[in-house]
């Protein structure tokens, strides 16, 4: 990068959470006019590093130097004033506020005249920005809760970029966006780069990393491993650098023979959910992995909820092989059905509770009248260890875990419960390739044990690699059913989606 000018230098950045050394004396350079991807397994310290840069976390030790000036932002707005912005992985907008208030939260000063907020000017400016970005369908004066997760993410993107930050951090945002939303994001990233600024991007999707970045830095267990020019590496080499060994064991299933599926585990008949599903019927067999794919808003995410008895205003029927109707969550759990939501932090985890409580929560009713702390602890430890969860102990709070380890906790919960039907919505969202590989192996093992598994996924490769059958959804209906086939291609699937 001899021809590029240094923009940001990180010197010996270090951070610990109790006994966990999250970032271990990392030094890194970022140049003007580059897209710099940070990659690494879950828990490798990427988000902790960028959170310190953007004021979300205080810096443990070390220094960030931006254009020759040492910076240590106290919070995100302070970082913005220094020219550093971030689009966070999870939801970063707040209910109860309008779109405009969210966009300028903490930075209302520009609209204050003698301590009085000029609400009209704020809404006008926000709407101008939304229009300018091509998001004119989002109205600045509306309450933010009127909009979908993806639309709220688009608001965050505008909020983080409208003032032309020198450094823009995009932390695992693509997984929350549809293809259209991703196209918008990539256009904005290119605009920031072409303006001579720097984009630091965290993403687990190697295709995206390879397509969009100029350089890639790898972190492993909090340590800096190295930086490579994107044009000089391939995805396999990056995986090896991330994991620290050759990734030569199988990643997806390698069997292509006839499906093991025999008897039906659960049936969905003519199920409709207003605005989500229209007359959807399917059968999930024991010993089968059934995939459901489609565009983000096609209704596929509602299928898992409907099978789990968690849909509202559902019509139609969900029935187990023994005739039991599933109309509520308690019956579903009692009859061995497990469900993991795409929105892991809000719908699957008790984020401010311990790993032990999270793992044992649905199993508590099986422990008898009196629940002892030692029983909870030993059960939690057993299943957390089984999932190789990277943690200090089961009394650690889930909020301190990385995305992949959080997902391990969710799966461990249902393993502990002994569920036979697993409904997994986006099971590998925001998860690194090592954990992905572990989860795929586990699912394949469970399939062989005769468990019925449903995977809802926006990753076509995952559907093709893991599923015995794939149902493609479009406009809230099932558009096609495809059998597991070595010759199946992305194009075959996409043609039914769009």
């Amino acid at each position: 990068m001899a021809d590029k000018e240094l923009l940001l230098h990180a010197e010996q950045i270090d951070k610990s959470f109790g006994p966990t050394h999250a970032v271990d004396h990392v030094s890194l350079d970022f140049y003007k006019g580059e897209v710099h991807c940070l990659i690494g397994e879950n828990g490798s310290g990427k988000s902790t590093f960028t959170n310190m840069l953007t004021g979300i976390l205080p810096i443990g030790s070390g220094t960030f130097t931006l254009e020759g000036t040492q910076v240590a932002p106290k919070n995100q707005v302070d970082a913005n004033h220094l020219g550093i912005a971030i689009v966070v992985q999870e939801q970063g907008t707040l209910d109860g506020l309008t779109v405009a208030e969210n966009m300028f939260l903490g930075d209302e000063g520009q609209f204050m005249r003698g301590g009085i907020k000029d609400t009209r000017a704020m809404v006008k400016k926000a709407q101008e920005l939304l229009d300018d970005y091509g998001f004119g369908h989002i109205k600045a004066q509306d309450p933010i809760e009127n909009y979908t997760f993806e639309e709220r993410k688009l608001v965050e993107i505008v909020k983080a970029t409208w003032f032309n930050p020198k450094v823009l951090v995009v932390d695992e945002t693509t997984t929350a966006l549809s293809q259209d939303g991703r196209d918008h994001l990539f256009r904005i990233i290119h605009r920031v780069r072409d303006h001579g600024d720097c984009v630091i991007m965290i993403d687990h999707d190697m295709d995206i990393v390879m397509a969009i970045s100029d350089r890639i830095s790898i972190l492993r267990d909090g340590e800096y491993i190295g930086t490579v020019a994107t044009e000089e590496v391939d995805a396999d080499r990056l995986k090896t650098l991330m994991v620290g060994r050759e990734m030569n064991e199988k990643y997806y299933r390698t069997d292509w023979g006839p499906s093991l599926a025999q008897d039906v585990a659960i049936t969905m008949s003519h199920v409709s959910v207003p605005g989500q599903l229209e007359d959807v019927s399917l059968e999930l067999h024991n010993g089968e992995i059934l995939g459901i794919g489609g565009l983000s808003e096609c209704g596929m995410h509602e299928v898992g909820k409907a099978l789990f008895g968690a849909s509202f205003d559902r019509t139609g029927e969900v029935r187990l092989a023994d005739g039991t109707e599933i109309n509520d969550i308690n019956t579903a759990i009692d009859r061995g059905i497990a469900y993991t939501s795409k929105d892991r932090d809000n719908e699957s985890l008790l984020i401010n509770d311990t790993i032990a409580d999270n793992i044992t929560l649905p199993s508590l009713r099986d422990y008898g009248k009196f629940i002892t702390a030692s029983k909870v602890r030993s059960e939690a430890e057993k299943y957390a260890d089984l999932m190789s969860t990277k943690m200090v102990g089961v009394s650690q709070f889930v909020s301190a875990l990385s995305g992949g380890n959080k997902q391990k906790v969710v799966i461990a919960r249902w393993l502990a419960k002994g569920s036979d039907i697993l409904l997994l919505d986006s099971p590998t969202r925001g998860i690194d390739i090592k954990v992905k590989s572990d989860i795929y192996n586990l699912l394949d093992e469970m399939r062989k044990q005769g468990k019925a598994i449903l995977i809802i996924s926006e990753e076509i490769a995952e559907l093709m690699g893991m599923c015995d059958r794939i149902l493609i959804m479009k406009d809230r209906k099932i558009a096609a059913e495809l059998a597991r086939d070595r010759d199946l291609t992305d194009t075959d699937i996409i043609q039914y989606m769009i």
């Binding site: 919070n75 970063g92 506020l97 000029d118 609400t119």
Partner: protein
């Protein structure tokens, strides 16, 4: 028709319109009942003004309480702050005259709210516990203050107990709090803190500072409510043993309405209409001869049913 309804629902005045229609229905129902059971006992213009007068009093108290509840906190010292503010007003009348009728209770409420906030911030224990503990202290202080100049407001100082001054004073309070919500940072930050405190903190919001401010605003508007309440009742005896808690709940009713309808952008208007409706219902039940106990049960249940029917929560939404 369908597109008209859709347009109406998306209007910012939809929530207020619905509340007004329900208020009208409540009036019609009680008027019809009392016409049969006890003619002339409910709903005439002069009586409606009385219901409004009581509604205005509690609405003013609810205005400050609103900030506390929006932030996810609670204030159990509302009643004790109102009583102490009233008694402080009476105590200083010989020295300060009219100043003591208006300024002293407001400043007292503000000081008590600030104390609540600072104790909450210093001790870092839940607001419910802090304000419950503080209400015991405020109750004890009210006994001491009552000894200074008695418990009666001299008749010449009771102008805020009747029209037009009660209305003028209440409208001034509503304008001030409406202004605070819409045109200052406190309104936005209170919603942000209630929604997700951590994210608000990351956006540079001084969360602790705004929590203290919310509790202080709560106290300030308790003081303002005390001006109207004392003018209306013209006397206030000190309460001990948590008896002041009974005064918490009528302002809280208004806050329910404010919170439920805030997404339509007019929480204060919702508070005022809600309090007026509750006041009218309480009077209506008395007019048809329902006992006080049954009256309170039915009023409570009716308010819950109205809120349930009018604030349709999206299926699956988290309700706290």
């Amino acid at each position: 028709m369908e597109s008209f309804l859709k347009r109406a629902r998306s209007s910012q005045f939809y929530g207020i319109g619905v509340l007004l229609v329900i208020t009208l229905i409540v009036w019609v129902v009680f008027f019809a009942l009392t016409s049969v059971i006890n003619p002339g006992s409910f709903g005439q213009p002069d009586k409606m003004l009385t219901y409004l007068q009581r509604g205005l009093i509690y609405s003013v108290g609810a205005c400050g309480f609103y900030f506390v509840v929006v932030q996810g906190l609670f204030d159990f010292s509302i009643g004790s702050m109102i009583i102490l503010s009233e008694l402080m007003s009476i105590a200083f009348i010989p020295r300060l005259g009219w100043l003591s009728v208006v300024v002293v209770p407001i400043l007292t409420g503000m000081a008590l709210g600030l104390i609540n906030g600072l104790v909450f911030r210093t001790l870092r224990i839940p607001s419910m516990i802090v304000t419950t503990g503080m209400s015991l202290i405020f109750e004890a202080l009210s006994v001491v203050v009552a000894d200074i100049n008695g418990t009666r407001l001299p008749a010449q100082y009771s102008i805020f107990g009747s029209y037009p001054w009660n209305l003028i004073f209440a409208l001034a309070c509503f304008c001030i709090v409406g202004f605070i919500i819409k045109y200052t940072r406190i309104g936005t930050y209170s919603s942000a803190i209630g929604s997700n405190e951590l994210v608000a903190k990351n956006m540079g919001v001084s969360v602790n500072r705004y929590k203290v401010m919310a509790l202080m605003l709560s106290g300030t508007f308790c003081g303002a409510m005390a001006v109207l309440y004392l003018g209306y009742g013209t006397a206030q005896t000190p309460q001990t043993g948590m008896l002041s808690q009974a005064l918490n709940f009528l302002p809280l009713m208004g806050v329910f309405f404010g919170i439920a309808f805030r997404r339509y952008g007019h929480p204060i208007v919702a508070i005022v209409i809600g309090e007026f409706m509750v006041s009218m219902m309480l009077a209506g039940f008395i007019a048809i001869g329902v006992s006080t106990t049954v009256n309170q049960i039915v009023t409570g249940l009716t308010v819950l049913v109205i809120l349930m029917l009018t604030t349709k929560v999206r299926n699956g939404a988290v309700v706290k």
